[in-house]
């Protein structure tokens, strides 16, 4: 695109101004193109899609994450904590509360017999909240990236179900200020629809013998990674959805009971 910028020999002032303006426009255009490219790349990765004006954007996290994108670190981050008079200081893990609410909207079966669960994530704060949105954890967690945050969403069966199954479906996203577009900005009161995949096999195995209904909640949590090490500088409390969704077992078939 820069080849389109031409400067001829003798130029009059107006021409120069126009040229400068044109360069500025082209630079601006290039910046827009670059931003758009990155945004497109991220959007393509996260399948972020604003369906119609005013409608919440959609973050589709139902696709399997390739093994080489599941995280830079293959372990558990360091953290600190305690009780009694202990209080976190600089360098410790600071607890915080996510200014969000979760609402399960619906679950629909996909072609594989699993379920796509729609969760509405709403910013309940008066300030904007940036939701980590990149499913490529390997890239975002990479050392050198600053203000790294990791966001977890899970579908958890409630008490009374098979204790061996912790989550029926889950997804993890991450973001860093070094990776433009890795966050999705949620203005005050704004919402984002997130799609999670729930395994019908896990759902089926989660039913207790006594019950034909399985109640499921959505939860989310966030970590803030220290800029210089694999250590949690912050860890949010776990946030549970305002409502639950039920699944019913008919023979071997599982079906959602919409909230």
């Amino acid at each position: 695109m820069m080849r389109q910028v031409t400067f001829s020999g003798p130029s009059i002032m107006l021409h120069t101004i126009c040229a400068i303006k044109r360069v500025r426009l082209l630079i601006a255009h290039l910046l827009l193109w670059t931003t758009a490219s990155i945004a497109t790349m991220i959007a393509a990765t996260t399948k972020l899609d604003s369906q119609e004006p005013g409608a919440p954007g959609v973050l589709d996290l139902t696709a399997p994450v390739p093994h080489n994108e599941q995280g830079y670190y293959h372990g558990i981050p360091g953290s600190s904590g305690g009780g009694g008079a202990w209080r976190p200081g600089p360098g410790d893990t600071m607890p915080y509360r996510l200014p969000l609410s979760l609402e399960i909207l619906r679950a629909t079966p996909n072609k594989d017999g699993n379920f796509v669960v729609e969760i509405l994530v709403r910013n309940t704060d008066s300030a904007a909240f940036n939701v980590p949105a990149s499913p490529n954890l390997t890239t975002t967690e990479k050392p050198g990236n600053k203000s790294r945050r990791v966001f977890f969403l899970q579908l958890q069966p409630l008490a009374g179900s098979n204790p061996g199954i912790v989550a029926l479906g889950s997804a993890t996203t991450a973001a860093s200020i070094n990776l433009p577009g890795s966050f999705i900005r949620l203005g005050p009161g704004k919402s984002l629809k997130i799609l999670l995949l729930a395994s019908s096999d896990f759902i089926r195995r989660s039913f207790s013998q006594e019950s034909q209904k399985l109640e499921v909640k959505a939860t989310c949590q966030e970590w803030k990674l220290d800029d210089n090490r694999f250590f949690l500088s912050g860890m949010s409390g776990e946030l549970a959805s305002l409502n639950t969704i039920q699944f019913a077992l008919h023979g071997e078939q599982v079906a959602p009971v919409q909230p």
């Binding site: 995280g71 360091g78 600190s80 009780g83 008079a85 202990w86 954890l137």
Partner: protein, 303 residues
């Protein structure tokens, strides 16, 4: 042949890599009762959730590190007889990763909290004592995926326990309470009597003893008791929890690590909540009996 099939297959509990912390071992081996010339195929491991691992090897044994129990089977064929599929259970045993409570240690006033000197009736512990427990978990713990073509091929587990670079339980006692010559200590007259002098004061020695009891020196009514009992419970112990975590082949390993970490931190958070519960006050005994008023400055409360 169904009944006799069992005799073909025995499981040897063969420790691999002794000295290296592994979640398990176990080698599935056919016994010598298999007919001479028998061939072996379709080795299969099935865990309790019906996850299956198969092997194409045709030897009479199948071995490898195991991290979860299940059933192993193999197809045995011998000329002149029908093939058999003997099965056997393979059980794994836990490594001892129990996270033990820190030993309570007294530290000087001001180390982590400044108790008022002379004592004032402040805080939950009457200004006479304070405790904290504190941990720092290192970040060098990494998971491992089994790749030995054994029965648990592809399973991921934690090969070593978490390491805490800080793991302590500390308490402070007000220096004036430990100083028998202090004005505060001398002002605790010990004239309380539930019947004859119910508004009397606790004695200095009793107050010191019960403050220690409140912070750490009681197996039932102390912050330390609440902390250690909570930590030692099977539902709250981070080491016991971590030891049993594994991911099936193909699982998202970031989720595995995340769930393991969440399991640890939620358990430690439970321990925090338990330790923060208030034992009987420092002027009660471990049975909850009131032992007298505490006489703070200007020391005019004792009758």
């Amino acid at each position: 042949m169904a009944n006799s099939e069992q005799s073909f297959l025995t499981l040897g509990a063969v420790h691999k890599d002794e000295g290296v912390v592994k979640r398990h071992f176990s080698s599935a081996m056919l016994s010598s009762t298999a007919p001479t010339g028998a061939t072996f195929s379709n080795w299969k491991f099935t865990d309790s959730n019906n996850n299956i691992v198969t092997s194409t090897q045709t030897t009479n044994s199948w071995s490898g590190t195991m991290v979860t129990s299940g059933t192993v089977s193999v197809q045995v064929s011998a000329s002149g007889s029908n093939s058999a599929i003997p099965t056997a259970s393979a059980s794994v045993t836990n490594r001892n990763w129990h996270t033990g409570p820190a030993t309570p240690a007294e530290v000087a006033n001001g180390t982590f909290f400044s108790l008022p000197v002379p004592p004032q009736s402040t805080g939950d512990d009457s200004g006479l004592g304070e405790f904290q427990w504190h941990y720092v978990l290192n970040s060098n713990l990494q998971y491992s995926t089994i790749n030995d073509n054994g029965p648990n091929q592809g399973y991921t587990y934690w090969p070593s326990n978490q390491i805490f670079s800080t793991w302590n339980f500390q308490y402070e006692i007000n220096p004036d309470l430990e100083n028998t010559g202090s004005t505060f200590y001398q002002a605790q007259t010990g004239h309380y009597n539930a019947t004859t002098n119910p508004s009397g004061c606790i004695s200095g020695s009793n107050l010191l003893m019960q403050t220690n009891r409140h912070e750490w020196n009681s197996s039932t009514q102390s912050h330390y008791a609440f902390y250690s009992n909570s930590l030692n419970s099977s539902s709250n112990n981070p080491g016991d929890f971590l030891e049993q975590q594994f991911a099936v082949p193909g699982a998202n390993l970031n989720n595995f690590a995340t769930n393991s970490n969440s399991g640890i931190t939620s358990r430690l958070s439970n321990v925090t909540s338990a330790s923060d519960v208030q034992p009987f006050p420092v002027n009660d005994d471990a049975a909850g009996n009131f032992l007298g008023t505490i006489n703070y400055a200007p020391y005019n409360l004792c009758n």
